[in-house]
């Protein structure tokens, strides 16, 4: 019983991490139609900002709070300078963001060297439930993921900003005619997606430690999750991330990890092939 509970906790906490990483990716893909190959590097930047704050003597949580704002600001600038040119062509956008990601990744690699740098957990220790010990920080990640998810949902569905974003997604020309500044909305959406990635990076760096290829590890899983969930809505990618994250954490418990690893991708691609609209079809929230 205890081990089952521990396993379930492992699975849920990994699922939460994937959801957290995919949130930003999904928002950018759904609301802007861009598959952002640099998203993994935004995660990396978030982790790096946290590390920098920690290395300069600030408490870890200060870095974690700062990371989304810093990465969001970087995202806003990049959108205005570069990403903006790619909206017309999704494939070109992929290549362009890939190049951008390459620049960020290699710059960070140059800054940290080939090391694995550790950042301590701001909330250490474990929570004891009878005979089971679960990591307090992983539990915190689950809670924060739920909060962020709820916050994003409310932001997109209940606020006027969310309405504008959805209007821009639905019909850009009409949105412009109604006086919505679509370039500004695109910029804000992209910055928001980048900020979420920065937050994800900041939260997971104590678990995975900081290394240059941190972001890449999640990128392809993230894309697959977005496709499985369905591009076009907010809920779709989140649902996809939940499924992919849970599957990739759960399958290794019942079969050889190598087979499980590959099987998740094969299943996901087959699923997308036969249901291209994804788990949750439709546009909107």
């Amino acid at each position: 019983m205890a081990s089952t509970f521990a396993a379930v906790f492992e699975i849920v906490s990994f699922g939460a991490i994937i959801v957290l990483v995919v949130l930003g990716l999904g928002i950018i893909a759904s609301m802007m139609g861009i598959f952002n190959f640099a998203q993994g590097e935004f995660v990396l930047l978030g982790a790096y900002v946290t590390y920098l704050a920690y290395a300069h003597g600030a408490p870890v949580w200060v870095g974690m709070v700062a990371a989304p704002f810093v990465v969001g600001a970087i995202g806003f600038v990049l959108e205005a300078l570069i990403i903006r040119r790619f909206y017309a062509a999704p494939i070109v956008a992929m290549l362009g963001t890939y190049a951008l990601g390459l620049i960020i990744r290699e710059s960070v690699r140059g800054l940290i060297g080939g090391f694995y740098l550790t950042v301590p957990e701001p909330i250490g220790g474990s929570i004891d439930l009878g005979s089971v010990h679960i990591s307090a920080w992983r539990f915190t990640i689950i809670v924060i993921t739920l909060l962020v998810m709820g916050g994003c949902y409310l932001l997109l569905s209940r606020t006027s900003f969310g309405l504008r974003v959805r209007a821009t997604l639905e019909n850009p020309a009409l949105a412009r005619a109604s006086g919505i500044s679509t370039p500004l909305i695109y910029g804000a959406t992209f910055a928001f997606g980048a900020a979420l990635a920065g937050l994800a990076g900041a939260l997971i760096v104590p678990v995975f430690s900081l290394f240059a290829d941190l972001g890449i590890r999640f990128l392809i899983q993230g894309f697959v999750a977005v496709m499985v969930g369905g591009v076009g809505s907010f809920i779709g990618p989140v649902a996809g991330a939940g499924v992919i994250g849970t599957l990739s954490a759960a399958l290794p418990w019942v079969m050889s990890p190598v087979v499980a690893d590959v099987l998740v991708f094969v299943l996901a691609i087959a699923f997308i092939k036969f249901r291209p609209q994804g788990l949750i079809a439709g546009k909107g929230v």
Binding site: I91, M94, L100, F223, V224, D261, F265, I272, K273
Partner: protein, 373 residues
């Protein structure tokens, strides 16, 4: 649907008219072709000439490096055919390259087969089979697949293969398969150096000429149509998905050939060969050199690999950053690659069928096409 009607009017003029029209950039200046001579054959000839004399000029270890570049150029050619001509974004081209590499490495390790007469056909066959399977799955079906799905599907395939190779003990795990014996022909062994170089160069030239013939044939015309406007091609009665699957398989075949040559040249295979690293590298080569021209793929490979080799002593850490910046600049300001500095749009798109200069000029035909009701 004015566009479609226009196109129908144009296709009546003969096949050489429609491609020029299909390209969105057809209004671009005609380049330097107006003088009556063409740039493309000159560039191709120059590249071939340089490639032929290289081993005499270079030291031995540089010839070994040049051989690697030639093999990678063959690999780049396969991607260029798929992306530059048919517009299929294959982000997982390394899957076929690496699968063939692993396949022939296993043949050499477990079956002691090193004869070139068996290895190269086997590698080619592996590439063909893998690309037929993956391409058939991703591209064929009741509904046409979206561009995004195909690109992410190939990327995922390549990534999954990489992970599989890393975790599978039989394939050597992280370390791959080391110490592959040299290729043989009878009792002769192909060692690294000029002989291997010329063999690979010969294969590249033959493949290049085959591709050149292919993209200038009626099949190539249909491919160019696919790239520019898939729906229009479907309206003309072509089976767009089948065309895509065929060209994807051809690309995979060439990648397989390149992969088997690479495995025996390097003497080992490792998981990166299958994975995202090589897959994206080949995209960089082609984008940089100029997609949609075969020679652009070759030039891009030579420049990127050459500069990377040259810089690797002093600026190893900075080079990937420079590469990223250059790539971003090319994508933003020179989407047709470096080759577009010397090659005009009209020549890039090329002519199909009749030679230019015979019959009325293209511009005149364009006028006629536009005037037709």
């Amino acid at each position: 649907m004015g566009g479609a009607r226009e196109a129908v009017a144009r296709i009546g003029e003969g096949p050489d008219v429609v491609t020029g029209e299909g390209a969105p950039a057809a209004s671009a200046p005609a380049g330097r072709t107006s003088a009556g001579w063409k740039v493309l054959p000159i560039v191709e000839g120059l590249v071939l000439l340089i490639a032929l004399v290289l081993p005499w000029v270079l030291q031995d270890y540089l010839t070994v490096f040049a051989t690697r570049v030639v093999i990678l150029a063959l690999f780049a050619l396969s991607f260029d055919l798929v992306w530059g001509y048919a517009g299929i974004m294959s982000f997982g081209q390394a899957l076929f390259f690496g699968a063939a590499g692993y396949g022939v490495a296993l043949m050499a390790r477990d079956l002691n087969v090193t004869s070139i007469l068996l290895i190269l056909p086997a590698g080619t066959l592996i590439g063909l089979t893998a690309s037929l399977l993956l391409g058939g799955f991703l591209l064929l079906g009741r509904y046409p697949s979206s561009v995004i799905f195909v690109s992410l599907g190939t990327l995922t395939g390549s990534y999954a293969a990489d992970r599989l190779a890393r975790g599978w003990y039989y394939l050597g795990g992280q370390n791959g398969i080391p110490s592959i014996p040299p290729l043989t022909l009878g009792s002769y062994e192909f060692e690294e150096g000029p002989v291997y170089y010329y063999m690979v160069l010969g294969i590249l030239v033959v493949t290049y000429l085959l591709c050149r013939f292919l993209v200038r044939s009626q099949f190539g015309l249909a491919l160019a149509g696919l790239r520019e406007n898939e729906q229009r091609i479907a309206f003309f009665g072509y089976k767009a998905q089948h065309l895509k699957a065929i060209v994807f398989a051809i690309g995979g075949t060439i990648a397989g050939l390149a992969g088997s040559l690479y495995a025996f040249h390097e003497g080992f295979v490792w998981p990166n060969m299958l994975g995202v690293v090589f897959s994206t590298q080949v995209v960089l080569y082609v984008l940089f050199g100029g997609s949609g021209t075969l020679i652009g793929a070759v030039i891009g490979t030579v420049i990127i690999e050459g500069v990377s080799f040259w810089l690797s002593d002093n600026y190893r850490d900075v080079w990937p950053i420079i590469l990223g910046v250059l790539l971003l600049l090319v994508i933003m300001f020179r989407p047709l690659g470096l080759i577009s500095f010397v090659l005009g749009e009209r020549e890039r798109v090329g002519s199909f069928g009749k030679e230019p200069g015979k019959g009325p000029s293209k511009a005149a035909k364009k006028e006629a096409g536009n005037a037709a009701p």
